[in-house]
């Protein structure tokens, strides 16, 4: 399946008629956030004040230097913020009007090596995640399967299918390319009520999933199609907007400088879906909103989102929504700890558990930090997001996502 690069790439900032209802909201500042790339030791490739083009490299992984992190837009690198132990907090870019995009060479990008090289060079490799552990995969890694998440499990997030359909050619090209980057099968996991534009083939399978509160999580799809954790293999997964971005790169030679997001939540008076620049400043996106009383602004959903404050008030790399909640002020000191109270194994927990996991024994193993037990009970199949519903419902107010990461770190270290 050849991918024909378009010879006359169109301006990426042209209004796209297919997403006409979604207004483009311009911002003047964007950022890459360190917290979106857990465990990466960044090595900077530029310094404050440099001019950058969309798609030009800003940083790379110090351990695996082929993995690049690129500018989402053109402008001036205005600020590099570092936190504790000089860990990167955010890397901020002030937009200029040049709309300059780095052009990638597309000739001959049909085979595995050249496709991987293109993904690495363009920074799109960093959109892939492994399971177990949820890392960026090794550039020469071989997955047992690749999962494209073409459905949404978060409430108030934009529906994926209209977005995918308005970029059908890009989505098609990217899924075909993903089938080429490894020997593994690509599963395009979508809601059973819809079917995404995919050229189904032996190595490229659309798989419908019933809709439900957590059924859009990659962990659910992985458990159903290619369970991992005991055989030492890994699978990769990628979100649908990153797939569109890859398709845009393959068809037009430039990075897709947009993301479709929703701004919603109980405190938002004007819920809306927007097209924005990746990593857009949330303060600027919300500047026209007025809130009554104190609010809490999250990048991501109410359940799994991250607080957008200070130098981290930017749209997260894999977030499709901004949620604004009324500040209730009950984040007492006890809720800042990993375990607070005692687990009462009510029946409610059973229906909120990830598939194949016995919630109560697993949560108990996490609470006491029993790494071997947690591994036996399925810890390697999961990442933080899979535990959010259990953390929400459990009377102990524990953060099982954090406890799980503690266990995963130890398993990864033991390796």
């Amino acid at each position: 399946m050849g991918i024909e690069p378009e010879t006359t790439p169109q301006q990426t900032t042209d209004p796209l008629p297919e997403t006409g209802s979604n207004e483009f909201h311009p911002v003047t500042r964007v950022a890459l956030l360190g917290r979106d790339y857990r465990g990466i030791n960044f090595e900077l490739l530029c310094k404050e004040g440099d001019q950058v083009k969309a798609g030009s490299p800003l940083m790379r992984d110090a351990r695996r230097p082929q993995i690049l992190f690129t500018a989402p837009t053109s402008g001036k690198l205005s600020k590099i913020e570092r936190g504790k132990r000089r860990k990167l907090v955010s890397l901020q870019v002030d937009l200029d009007s040049s709309q300059d995009s780095h052009r990638f060479e597309l000739a001959g990008t049909q085979d595995k090596a050249s496709l991987r090289a293109l993904m690495l060079e363009s920074g799109l490799w960093s959109a892939l995640r492994t399971r177990p552990f949820g890392n960026i995969p090794d550039p020469d890694g071989e997955p047992a399967a690749i999962f494209v998440t073409a459905m949404e499990s978060e409430i108030l997030a934009p529906a994926p299918l209209p977005v995918i359909n308005s970029f059908a050619a890009e989505f098609r090209a990217a899924t075909n390319a993903l089938a080429e980057i490894s020997e593994a099968t690509v599963y395009v996991c979508h809601a059973s009520s819809s079917s995404p534009p995919v050229d189904a083939a032996e190595k490229l399978l659309p798989v419908p999933f019933a809709e439900g509160h957590s059924s859009g999580l990659p962990g659910v799809h992985i458990n159903a199609l290619c369970p991992i954790g005991f055989g030492g293999r890994e699978v990769w997964h990628i979100g649908y907007q990153d797939v569109i971005s890859l398709g845009h790169l393959l068809l037009h030679g430039t990075a897709w400088m947009e993301r479709v997001i929703s701004i919603d939540g109980p405190a938002v008076q004007n819920p809306r879906t927007l097209r924005v620049t990746p990593g857009a400043s949330i303060i600027q996106l919300l500047e026209s909103d007025s809130f009554q009383g104190p609010v809490q602004i999250l990048s991501g959903s109410a359940l799994r989102g991250q607080v957008a404050m200070g130098s981290e008030a930017y749209l997260g790399a894999r977030h499709h929504q901004i949620t604004v909640l009324p500040e209730t002020g009950d984040h007492s000191k006890s809720s800042r700890q990993a375990t607070a109270g005692v687990l009462i194994p009510t029946d409610e927990l059973e229906s909120l558990a990830p598939p194949g996991i016995y919630p109560v024994p697993f949560m108990r193993a996490l609470q006491v930090g029993d790494v071997d037990r947690a591994r036996d009970l399925g810890a390697l199949e999961l990442v933080e997001e899979d535990m959010a519903m259990l953390s929400f419902a459990c009377v102990s107010k524990s953060d099982y996502g954090l406890l799980l990461r503690n266990v995963l770190n130890q398993l990864e270290g033991a390796g």
Binding site: L303, H331, A338, G401
Partner: protein, 367 residues
């Protein structure tokens, strides 16, 4: 549990679910049971007065009833209420005071917050006792529940057995032959409240009808027995609350009923005579304390099996063993308390087996 700081939590939202809410819902679900229990104790006492003695008993409760003017002559709402309060009130109050005193001591000695869970335990224990239970037995059982059932395991949520179950079991074991000294409580001999089942074993439905026990009276609970376990209807109402709020596991409850019905039906088919084996499943559910025990003791979320397959196994075991012991061992006509105790002790073993199978399956299936 002591919090250990391994990083900043990202979990922003927690449901309003907490231990206090679970306690409140348990108490709410016990409200209909308690109200029916209050009036039934009064009703049983007043009926006993009418049937056996002209004057009331000369223990404290009896004197209180007399002093307040409640009698069996044309008895009504007031008479039943007074008689019920005079018998159930002291038991509940003594159980509450005993529980609170021990909790207070534990909280002080071990520098833990005072846990209000003893209220539910005291109420459950009271409802499982006969109306004429001596207060010394109440203090003994309640002390055992708080200290051995709860305190030594580290408090709420860490118990191994339901404390109320442990309390009634230890009282039953320690004082097996206790019958009230009071001849008014003929129908309530001993702690198991199993006379109706023993009656059925001897004479079938005719024997029950002779003492005014029919399907209807067994359902609403106007029969002799422990204070709170006679009314299957009130217990079902409480179960609905606990099932709707998903505090107890419906699988565990359903499995108990399936186990009971299957085993009872098997005995019905295998035994031709009218003896113990011929008792149909619905009488097994209506008589004795099966309904109450199945919901409030066996389904204790902390002390029961914590995996879904384990819940099916444990539930079926309880239902089947209750019928088996009732039929095969006439000295234990009720059998509910010992069976649930046994099944609760087995729960960790059942879970262990279920989890081992789960781990093997995961190892086989995964790439």
């Amino acid at each position: 549990m002591r919090g250990w700081h391994i990083g900043e939590t990202s979990q922003r939202l927690h449901s309003s679910n907490n231990q206090q809410r679970i306690h409140r819902l348990l108490l709410l679900s016990l409200l209909p049971v308690s109200i029916v229990a209050l009036f039934n104790v009064g009703y049983q006492y007043i009926s006993g007065l009418a049937n056996t003695l002209e004057r009331g008993s000369d223990d404290l409760a009896g004197r209180v009833v007399q002093a307040l003017g409640a009698s069996h002559q044309d008895p009504g709402f007031y008479d039943y209420l007074i008689a019920g309060l005079a018998h159930m009130g002291p038991i509940l109050i003594v159980a509450l005071i005993t529980g609170a005193a021990w909790e207070r001591l534990i909280a002080e000695r071990r520098q833990r917050p005072f846990e209000p869970g003893f209220i539910v335990i005291a109420l459950l224990f009271t409802l499982l006792l006969p109306g004429a239970a001596p207060l010394s037995h109440v203090i003994f059982g309640m002390s055992f529940a708080i200290l051995v059932g709860k305190g030594i395991f580290g408090g709420e949520g860490k118990t191994f057995l339901s404390p109320a179950l442990l309390a009634i079991a230890i009282v039953q074991i320690s004082f097996p032959a206790v019958t009230s000294q009071n001849p008014l409580w003929q129908g309530l001999s001993g702690y198991t409240g199993s006379d109706a089942i023993a009656l059925y074993h001897r004479g079938g439905e005719a024997a029950l009808a002779a003492v005014d026990i029919n399907l209807w009276s067994a359902l609403i609970g106007s029969t002799p027995g422990p204070i709170g376990t006679t009314s299957v209807l009130a217990v079902l109402l409480g179960a609905a609350i606990l099932l709707f709020t998903r505090i107890i596991a419906w699988r565990l409850l359903l499995a108990q009923i399936i186990g009971l019905v299957v085993t009872a039906t098997l005995f019905n088919l295998l035994t031709a005579d009218s003896g113990a084996g011929a008792m149909p499943a619905y009488w097994h559910i209506l008589l004795g304390s099966f309904a109450f025990g199945a919901i409030y003791l066996a389904c204790d979320p902390v002390a029961s099996s914590c995996t879904n397959p384990g819940r099916w196994i444990q539930g079926f075991l309880i239902g089947a063993l209750v019928v088996l012991i009732r039929v095969a061992n006439p000295t234990h006509p009720d059998a509910v308390i010992p069976v649930i105790l046994l099944a609760s002790i087995l729960a960790p073993l059942i879970d262990h087996a279920v989890i081992t199978i789960n781990i093997r399956r995961r190892a086989r299936r995964h790439v």
